[in-house]
């Protein structure tokens, strides 16, 4: 039956599909004709971590963040600055990225999530603007508007993880792990709690859920996940530039999640694909890219409220019905 509201449950099948998808992704480098395509694959992993983290917060817990690009940037600059300017090991940089994004999210989330209404959206909007200013103005650390250069690549057991098949495999492992952790979470006690409160905070409270604590926990996790994506980004490109982490980038991420389908596990997989492929396809539009995103968001929300994944699921059911006939 076609329910008016889509389910946000995790089924046994989700694990199987995830295992198959992730195994197939291991074969992608064999099929990729050149480094350019391989790098699109790496970008997709990073986009998936970002979209997946925002979807956890927005799609499942119903809280809107307008600063996911800032957390992404904070993770990138934390590890990038420490390793490029202070010679700190990127692995310690990863720890710094996790702690910094987690603490920042806690400090923003604690007061704004106490209030009723979309205060988190407003607080995060402010945070993104502040972070953008800091990324540009702290020239001594960040390199200012020209960007941070000289970020070292990662190395593991003496092997450098350059922007090739090695980084692909590394990103495959890290993002796969993150997405598996998300899947586990959704099917756990706290996962049910966060899915519950997005539908009815009243009922969540009546069932003993500390709504503020759960929202705060999800927000922190989601920010940390974006920070880890930033760590991947900065050591992949050996470079960070402030415009990748500004408010517009945060809005784009929101659109990516909506296009893929909010509150469905597979939505971000499709959204991330658009996030990676569309800019290449829209190269001719250059600065009008955000306009295309905006228009497509409006169209999707009007005609496919479930996003791409919702549209595909609907198509799937139609095909199934046709086949059954």
């Amino acid at each position: 039956m076609d329910s008016p509201v889509s389910s946000n449950s995790v089924s046994r099948n989700s694990y199987r599909v995830f295992a198959v998808v992730w195994a197939l992704l291991l074969l992608f480098p064999l099929a990729a004709p050149n480094n350019f395509i391989l790098n699109l694959g790496i970008s997709w992993f990073i986009s998936l971590a970002l979209a997946g983290s925002l979807n956890l917060l927005m799609g499942y817990a119903g809280q809107i963040s307008l600063s996911h690009a800032a957390f992404y940037g904070l993770g990138a600059y934390a590890s990038g600055v420490l390793s490029a300017k202070f010679g700190v090991s990127p692995w310690l940089g990863l720890c710094a990225a996790i702690v910094l994004t987690g603490v920042a999210a806690f400090l923003i989330g604690w007061p704004s999530l106490k209030l009723r209404g979309h205060y988190l959206a407003m607080a995060t909007l402010g945070f993104n603007v502040i972070m953008s200013v800091l990324f540009v103005e702290l020239r001594g650390l960040t390199g200012g508007p020209n960007g941070l250069v000289g970020v070292p690549s990662l190395s593991l057991f003496g092997y450098e993880i350059g922007a090739d098949i090695r980084f692909y495999l590394f990103a495959w492992f890290v993002v796969g792990l993150l997405m598996l952790l998300v899947l586990n979470l959704l099917d756990s006690r706290m996962g049910r709690a966060l899915r519950a409160l997005s539908t009815s905070e009243l009922a969540a409270k009546a069932n003993g859920i500390d709504v503020h604590a759960v929202k705060l926990g999800v927000f922190v996790l989601s920010a940390v996940m974006a920070g880890i994506a930033g760590f991947l980004y900065v050591h992949l490109n050996n470079f960070a530039s402030p415009e990748n982490f500004d408010f517009v980038a945060s809005v784009m991420l929101l659109v990516v999640v909506a296009l893929g389908g909010t509150g469905t596990y597979w939505g971000p997989f499709l959204g991330a694909l658009l996030h990676v492929v569309l800019p290449e396809a829209l190269r001719a539009f250059a600065d009008f890219e955000i306009l295309v995103y905006g228009v497509s968001l409006v169209l999707v929300l009007l005609f496919f409220p479930g996003g791409l994944s919702g549209a595909i699921a609907r198509l799937w059911r139609l095909v199934g019905r046709g086949a059954a006939r």
Partner: protein
């Protein structure tokens, strides 16, 4: 006489200068089914919200097993053995019936974010136990055949039972029901009455706010009648039905009727 499970002492709640509940004192004995009735606007739902912690009293005390709980947040009261349902359904529509009831196990389980993400053995065991308990709760209200149905695909009557099953899953000693029969057909109301009686027989004390007199009179041991936020009568169904103040509150005063006739 055993000590009361729940006690209200001088509870008052003001809304913009008006008292929705005024200086109300009453007790609920363990094992009882107590109904709160009264005309529209009598303060019944306000009372239920006060008891469950969704609003705080302007004055007075609420005690659960002699522990003051009137400043305790709603979610914390559930841990102490209080659960409630809502008059206008508050079901988690995107979840299955079973998952809805598993949410009700929240306070009886412990796994945090990290344990859930890592799928620790303890978290897995707990989830499995929560699932088993939820299945039992569903069976208790007769929804065992609907466990894997998405909540939005259930009928109105089934959703009311689902809320009840979810509240039961937290193993409450006190269950607060806000109009459990509202919107139900007569057969469904009788089914609901049977379910509530069964829950009570299992040792759960019940306080219900209800308009449906058929349900109230058939299952209550004890009735509290409110009008304009004050108690106007309290006692067994027979006593309350014979009380002139109650008849007056529901039917209007004798001389009002005469004035209408003229």
């Amino acid at each position: 006489m055993s000590a009361p499970l729940l006690e209200a002492r001088g509870v008052t709640r003001m809304f913009a200068g008006l008292a929705a509940v005024q200086d109300l004192s009453f007790a609920v004995t363990p094992g009882a089914i107590k109904a709160v009735i009264g005309p529209n606007g009598a303060g019944k739902t306000t009372l239920l919200n006060l008891l469950s912690g969704f609003i705080e009293p302007s004055a007075g005390e609420i005690r659960l097993e002699n522990r003051r709980i009137d400043a305790m947040p709603a979610h914390a009261r559930v841990r102490h053995g209080m659960a409630r349902t809502f008059q206008n359904l508050q079901v988690f529509g995107r979840m299955t019936a079973l998952e809805n009831v598993m949410v009700g196990r929240h306070v009886r389980t412990r796994a945090g974010f990290i344990a859930g993400m890592l799928r620790t053995p303890a978290s897995r065991r707990e989830s499995a136990a929560a699932r088993a308990a939820a299945v039992k709760s569903l069976a208790l209200v007769g929804l065992d055949g609907r466990a894997d149905t998405q909540a939005t695909d259930l009928s109105f009557g089934e959703l009311k039972l689902l809320e009840l099953a979810r509240a039961l899953a937290s193993e409450p000693r006190l269950l607060l029901l806000d109009e459990p029969a509202a919107g139900l057909a007569m057969a469904e109301t009788d089914r609901m009455a049977g379910v509530i009686r069964g829950i009570n027989a299992g040792g759960v004390t019940v306080v219900l706010v209800e308009h449906n007199m058929r349900l109230v009179m058939s299952i209550s041991h004890d009735i509290l009648v409110l009008n304009f936020g004050r108690r106007i009568a309290e006692g067994s169904p027979a006593i309350v039905q014979a009380e002139p103040a109650v008849i007056e509150a529901y039917l209007g005063r004798d001389d009002d009727a005469r004035a209408d006739d003229a």
